[in-house]
């Protein structure tokens, strides 16, 4: 596979951004054998990192590139950076949600040969990125075929509203993201548990949800609550749990392999 690292000026954020992209390599595309370029549109997976991470996390801490190669699937993996901002349009700060929802796909489709069809568009992430992925899929269900959350922080507003107790050193940061009014956060655009209701009531075709979490993860309870609510609303949701597993890359490495292997994409 080919690994691309891009640096450019983001219009939405107003400063430089980096994206990492994995594309099929010339051998996989049989460029030498065909003696011609392959300009077919690729199935795309938008893959989001967790808190403290950036666009390089998935390539640094998992075997993602090898998994894509071994799957022999024609896919592009696009990895943006959301730092610690919960992929949110911040109350005080920057529009990270608009960035990953609008700008990143627009750039990916403009610069590369990437399918614009919802059935070829997938999103996934771990922890904070699981939250970002689910938020994308529930806000714009018509854009994504599947969403996968690994150890996702699926009740971010619930956590943010307890941050004074859980991690007081992050309180100011969370206030910048979610705003100072704790009540107003509930039922808002960042409230994923609420977005489950909104998407279900929208009448739109809902993306398939895959949700994985370890039973020893500090987000385990939140994941159970999300699962139960989604199932009660009739979502097509596959739940996977692993005994005694915490919040860890070993788990995300095996989960991203499973994701690549089940992703519907044309074979090479």
């Amino acid at each position: 596979m080919a690994l691309l690292e891009m640096s450019f000026q983001s219009d939405v954020l107003g400063f430089e951004q980096q994206l990492a992209v994995i594309l099929p390599d010339p051998r996989a595309l049989k460029l030498e054998e065909n003696g011609a370029p392959d300009t077919d549109d690729l199935t795309v997976l938008y893959l989001l990192h967790g808190y403290h991470g950036n666009h390089l996390d998935w390539t640094r801490y998992t075997m993602l590139e090898r998994f894509v190669e071994e799957s022999r699937k024609k896919i592009a993996v696009v990895m943006p950076s959301g730092l610690t901002y919960y992929y949110a349009d911040m109350a005080r700060g920057w529009k990270y949600f608009t960035y990953i929802a609008e700008e990143v796909p627009l750039l990916a489709k403009s610069y590369f040969h990437i399918s614009a069809k919802p059935e070829n568009t997938h999103v996934a992430g771990l922890s904070m990125g699981g939250a970002g992925s689910v938020k994308l899929a529930l806000t714009y269900p018509e854009r994504y075929a599947t969403v996968s959350s690994f150890s996702g922080a699926l009740d971010p507003v619930g956590r943010a509203n307890k941050i004074d107790v859980i991690a007081p050193e992050r309180a100011a940061h969370y206030n910048n993201i979610y705003g100072d009014d704790k009540q107003a956060r509930i039922g808002g655009a960042e409230d994923i548990m609420h977005l489950l209701d909104v998407a279900a009531a929208s009448g739109k075709k809902l993306p398939k949800i895959y949700q994985a979490c370890g039973t020893a993860d500090f987000l385990w309870e939140d994941n159970l609550a999300f699962r139960d609510k989604a199932l009660s609303l009739g979502y097509d949701l596959e739940f996977y749990q692993e005994e005694g597993v915490g919040h860890e890359w070993t788990f995300w490495n095996s989960e991203v392999k499973k994701l690549i292997d089940r992703l519907p994409a044309s074979a090479i």
């Binding site: 080919a2 691309l4 450019f8 219009d11 594309l23 460029l31 030498e32 370029p37 300009t39 627009l106």
Partner: protein, 268 residues
């Protein structure tokens, strides 16, 4: 926008790194309609010199800024040629085929790039100027424009070893001689071969020859070779622009000014 790309080459059977400079999203007017901009762009292949690499142009000139200021919708591709003279080695790998065949196929597969002659440009400095001329004269049907700055365009008419006074230059030259034996084969077979740009110029049909731009400093060791190339091109009736600059040797300051000129004014 700067993109760094790593992939496994089919032709070399080893990892290859190249850089791509693309117009920033705002220059591409990606935001104006909200739709992806997928128009095929003209492409400039830009080759580095001896002892250089794919990051040379980026690090030592303002090439990205020049593209930005020119407001041109154009992609610049900067491959790595190591010390291999963009040549299929007599004993070794096919660095000419890499740049001539594989790289364009990869670039056309990954990005939205025109395959038309009039949209395909090649340029380089020193060894890369030689590479640019060799590509243009070997495959005139593929390139619309080709530029050489301080190029080794008369590659087999280098200074006699006895004429080199500087001991450091002599060491470098001796190492180069050894490499050239592996690359070009024995000295006596080089003149008139497919690697002899002067011989290629002899055979070129001026009606199909790409537009050429050749520049050199008058203090450069390669100045005489450049004059010889110019004279032969003019005698053949090839469309060539020649520029010489006084008090100028083999130096980045000159190449910085030249690439600015070529991007902004010489290329369409």
């Amino acid at each position: 926008m700067l993109v760094k790309i790593n992939y496994l080459s089919q032709i070399l059977d080893e990892q290859v790194t190249f850089h791509a400079i693309l117009p920033e999203p705002r220059i591409m007017k990606i935001y104006e309609s909200g739709e992806p901009v997928t128009k095929d762009l003209p492409v400039l292949y830009l080759l580095h010199g001896y002892r250089g690499g794919p990051s040379d142009w980026q690090r030592k000139t303002g090439v990205e800024q020049f593209l930005h200021e020119a407001m041109k919708h154009m992609i610049i591709i900067i491959p790595g040629g190591y010390n291999f003279w963009y040549t299929n080695m007599v004993q070794g790998k096919r660095y000419f085929d890499l740049i001539a065949d594989e790289l364009p196929r990869v670039v056309q597969s990954y990005f939205h790039v025109s395959q038309k002659k009039e949209d395909t440009y090649v340029a380089g400095l020193s060894m890369g100027g030689y590479g640019a001329m060799k590509l243009a004269l070997t495959y005139p049907e593929r390139y619309g424009y080709a530029a050489s700055f301080s190029g080794a365009v008369d590659p087999f008419a280098m200074k006699e070893l006895d004429d080199i006074v500087d001991p450091k230059m002599l060491d470098m030259r001796l190492a180069m001689e050894k490499e050239q034996d592996w690359i070009f084969g024995p000295k006596e077979g080089r003149a008139g071969s497919a690697n002899d740009t002067m011989a290629l110029l002899d055979k070129i049909d001026p009606a199909v020859c790409p537009k050429l731009y050749v520049s050199c400093g008058t203090q450069d060791d390669l100045y005489e070779g450049n004059c010889a190339f110019r004279d032969k091109a003019l005698a053949k009736g090839v469309d060539i622009t020649f520029y010489e600059q006084g008090s100028t040797g083999h130096e980045w300051r000159f190449w910085n000014a030249e690439i600015e000129k070529v991007i902004k004014h010489w290329l369409p």
